[in-house]
């Protein structure tokens, strides 16, 4: 009994005031909100650019266009995401006029979104090229239906990758965890809580996407629901 009491006591810090009238659990949910917001905005950016660039890579009659699209993919998938984030934050915002005042939230979403767009572009290209050539002008809608499984992985990855945003001062879950474990000396509990929130977020995406996948499945093209992930 005392053992469980001890564990319960160690979680009491969640109800403590952090000093300005905000409790740790309120702060944790606000941090979770930042994580979800960074991931969601980045995903929108990544999907929009990724679909465009992936499609352009398959346009073989315009060499320049497909070369530019290929360049985009190679540029953004060959640089580590943390380095890209720092480039946006410390280099681009310093040397490009007018970028100084851009909020770090926007820069983080650009970095994460562009990085992921290169990966999505490759999946879109693979999806288009997987279809018979003759269907070229009616295949785009089908492509999106057959690439839902890898897109699900990307959406989940972007949630996990959003943790790098702490490095450019965005008050998301990792930033919350690092600061709170320092203030409360409850490192184990804080990181456990952050872990659970990441898992919940990723699982929610997984469930949502697999429900879309079932509805959008193309008979005869997808692998009949068997281990498509």
């Amino acid at each position: 009994m005392t053992y469980w009491q001890g564990i319960w006591d160690r979680w009491q810090f969640l109800w403590d005031d952090r000093g300005d009238g905000v409790t740790y659990w309120q702060w944790m949910f606000s941090a979770w909100g930042y994580t979800v917001a960074v991931a969601a905005v980045s995903l929108v950016v990544a999907l929009a650019i990724g679909c465009l660039v992936g499609t352009l890579r398959t346009v073989s009659q315009h060499r320049v266009v497909s070369a530019l699209a290929t360049g985009w993919v190679e540029l953004f998938r060959n640089i580590p995401v943390l380095v890209q984030l720092f480039l946006w934050f410390f280099v681009i915002s310093e040397i490009v006029p007018g970028m100084r005042g851009v909020p770090s939230f926007v820069l983080a979403c650009c970095a994460l979104g562009f990085f992921t767009s290169a990966r999505i572009a490759e999946q879109v290209r693979a999806g288009i090229q997987a279809l018979p050539q003759a269907y070229r002008y009616v295949i785009l809608p089908q492509t999106f239906r057959i690439i839902i499984p890898p897109l699900t992985s990307e959406a989940m990855n972007i949630v996990k990758n959003s943790s790098v945003a702490f490095a450019v001062s965005i008050p998301e879950l990792i930033s919350f965890a690092m600061q709170t474990q320092e203030e409360t000396s409850r490192g184990i509990e804080v990181y456990l809580a952050a872990t659970v929130l990441y898992i919940i977020t990723a699982l929610a995406i997984s469930w949502f996407m697999s429900s879309r996948e079932k509805r959008a499945r193309v008979p005869g093209l997808s692998s009949q629901g068997q281990g498509a992930h």
């Binding site: 320092e182 203030e183 409360t184």
Partner: protein, 300 residues
């Protein structure tokens, strides 16, 4: 399965009991080894690279270890250096990996539940750094501004209390480390950097153009920074405190302070130029191990 669990429980309980029974002094004497916790990069202890550590608290600890060696009457005492971070320093002291943590750890009640602190030889002042041409002169001028501070430090809490107490509205932005927070100030993403005065002074001293920055005289809070030791080990604490008391009495501490805060220091030979504060002098005059919560705060 159940038997295994019971055996494991007993083993853990026994380990806990063993850790309690053997004092740190006995352990040091029987093993001939003392482990000093050091920091890679912090105000009072840092590395020069290649496993060489230095700093004000580092020197104080070297003297403590020399005194312990004398007290134990051992001929040879090996010093092992264990780098610690702000995340793992408390657990490493708790489980006995580190005997003497000589970094820059604030003595507060939250940590006091898990570890003990030696007599304080340095009181940190939380201050505000701004650009030299800034029109910010005191805390109240920060209303509506953006303030940088570093993740994983207690300055954030000080800032929050001031925010509520003085009804100020400002946005906080967290640098991932001190260099990052200073960059926020330098690049204009923040109007001020609130942090330990020694860290502000060190960052300004290392800046490309130190004259571009100034530290405001206002003290937001004071925090005793102390050497951390394992909890409930009165013999070891007594040995450490006696050494510190002797170092204060003979003037060794004052000399070390001068060496680290008034003279050029490695690796870049910059001078922090930070005379001992009244609070630090008071701590030397009346040695104590009070946590932050029991210290007289400015404006109280």
């Amino acid at each position: 399965m159940r038997k295994v669990l019971i055996a494991a429980t007993i083993a853990f309980a026994a380990m806990g009991a063993a850790a309690q029974a053997d004092g740190t002094l006995d352990k040091i004497k029987s093993s001939g080894i003392i482990t000093q916790g050091v920091r890679e990069s912090s105000g009072l202890a840092y590395t020069l690279g290649n496993g060489v550590y230095t700093g004000y608290h580092y020197d104080v600890c070297q003297n403590i270890i020399a005194d312990i060696k004398k007290k134990l009457g051992v001929e040879k005492l090996d010093i092992r250096y264990q780098p610690v971070t702000s995340q793992n320093r408390v657990p490493l002291v708790q489980n006995g990996t580190v005997d003497l943590e000589c970094g820059s750890t604030t003595n507060n009640k939250a940590r006091g539940r898990d570890v003990d602190f030696a007599t304080t030889v340095y009181i940190e002042e939380i201050k505000i750094a701004v650009k030299a041409n800034s029109n910010i002169g005191k805390l109240e001028d920060l209303n509506g501004k953006t303030i940088a501070t570093t993740t994983g430090t207690t300055s954030v809490q000080t800032l929050r209390k001031n925010k509520r107490g003085k009804d100020l509205k400002f946005s906080e932005v967290f640098g991932k480390d001190h260099a990052d927070s200073f960059l926020l100030l330098q690049s204009g993403r923040a109007d001020a950097f609130v942090m330990d005065a020694s860290i502000l002074a060190a960052n300004i001293a290392r800046a490309q153009n130190p004259k571009d920055y100034k530290i405001l005289p206002e003290v937001l809070a004071v925090e005793p920074i102390a050497i951390m030791i394992r909890k409930n080990d009165p013999e070891f604490k007594k040995a450490v405190d006696e050494s510190i008391a002797a170092q204060i009495k003979t003037g060794t501490i004052a000399k070390l302070y001068d060496k680290w805060f008034m003279q050029p220091i490695p690796p870049n030979n910059v001078t922090l130029n930070m005379p001992a504060s009244d609070a630090t002098k008071e701590a030397w005059a009346n040695p104590n191990d009070k946590p932050t919560e029991d210290c007289q705060q400015p404006g109280e």
